[in-house]
Symmetry: C2
Subunit: 126 residues, 2 copies
Amino acid sequence: MNRTKLKIDILLKLSISSRPLSINDLHQALDFKCDISTIFRTISQFKDKNLVSEINLEEGFYRYELSLQKKTLSHHHHIRCRVCGEIRNLESCDLSSFEKSIKKLGFTQMEHRLEFSGLCSRCSKS
Amino acid sequence: MNRTKLKIDILLKLSISSRPLSINDLHQALDFKCDISTIFRTISQFKDKNLVSEINLEEGFYRYELSLQKKTLSHHHHIRCRVCGEIRNLESCDLSSFEKSIKKLGFTQMEHRLEFSGLCSRCSKS
DNA sequence: GTGTATGCAAATCTTTTGCATCGGC
DNA sequence: GCCGATGCAAAAGATTTGCATACAC
């Protein structure tokens, strides 16, 4: 994987964002200076190399964040406000009871995706 | 919402299936006798009325199951084999520690989606 | 009869792919 | 120079929409 300006820019945008970015977010953040298909391809490579994590917040598309971030924050999940779209991180993750019962079913190499939605404090009030 | 043969058929197919069905699964199960856009529209109505639940197993499309089933089995989650696609239900769900920390962020009316993937016992061996 | 449901076709949106050219090493 | 990266255009797959007709009530 060559070190190109675009790849660095994408990683930079991801690193300075407080929330996971969609392909469109990235395209916009890069002022549409590259083709969107290239962003798809680049993110796909990043996924393969485990540089970014793919997140599904039930919006009809995926978001991406640095896996590095994932390490810093330790493994975590998200909650997204169903009204305003605000996204917050949830730092703790204890699913050991789930994993125990899955092991009983004979499954190995488990991964999981856990995402919450709700109304954030501001949207709860209005 | 009118009671039509198609709506009953869709609910029937969902009720006799041991796993959540995709729009395509339903289209096929109904022998392609109706237009697929109608299935999308019908499922969308069912979602609105909370008759069916939408499930994302990271396959690139959604699956649906009766919410009734959800009640019978109590609230549950799924694990999908990343190799053969087998889907199993996970009956217990204790995310109270998560919900506690989310409440601290000021969120209300929480919902969550938790899905596991792994290798089922057969695919683990081969 | 009125309003909802459906079929059909087309559009939309996200994502993928083919191919020619460009750029990193 | 070679191989990977990119742009561009087109395709693919899931989903939505407009509109005319058919059906439920």
